[in-house]
Symmetry: C2
Subunit: 104 residues, 2 copies
């Protein structure tokens, strides 16, 4: 079993809440803050903190806009974020392959 199989897991994506955010944004395109909060069952604070980490990594972009006079925050995955996420999924697949074949 390759030593790097686990150590190279991208922690920026791996954390539960961030894995949820990236999965939704890569699979469903842009979503607003409220949609993401409801779909993931996260608190405002939690979603803000995790989104900031993804934004600082360059994996998502956060756009502050207005709907009429109401502020609206929209999150969207970046091309780098999509690429990192697909690479992360491949890593998960290799782990699953190793774990499933040898634990049956």
């Amino acid at each position: 079993m390759d030593k790097g199989l686990f150590s190279t897991i991208d922690e920026t994506i791996h954390a539960k809440a961030r894995l949820g955010i990236m999965t939704l944004l890569v699979t469903q395109g842009e979503l607003d803050f409220t949609q993401l909060k409801q779909k993931l069952g996260l608190s405002d604070g939690n979603l803000s903190a995790h989104s900031r980490i993804l934004e600082e990594a360059g994996y998502i972009a956060i756009h502050k806009t207005f709907l009429g006079r109401r502020p609206k925050t929209v999150l969207v995955g970046t091309p780098e974020g999509r690429e990192a996420f697909l690479a992360y999924l491949n890593q998960l697949e290799s782990i699953l392959k190793v774990a499933k074949t040898q634990s049956d």
Copy 2:
């Protein structure tokens, strides 16, 4: 997408180092501390801390024995640990299915 898909991920297993420990113990049976350290590229402190979390969750057992006069620590997955790990793998598979089908 089911809200619980991410929130119900078992954090005890999900953390990178612990995912490595559980994968090795469930797929390869019991391993000693040094073997695990080498296979995962973890420090003594890191491996001890993560093993303790898994032991407290009842997912692994840690046996302190002696090889001649040299202390030897052996770690082994428990039946509960194996069951939790297989359930965790199924969750990963569902996430992968959702993420892969909709991001192609």
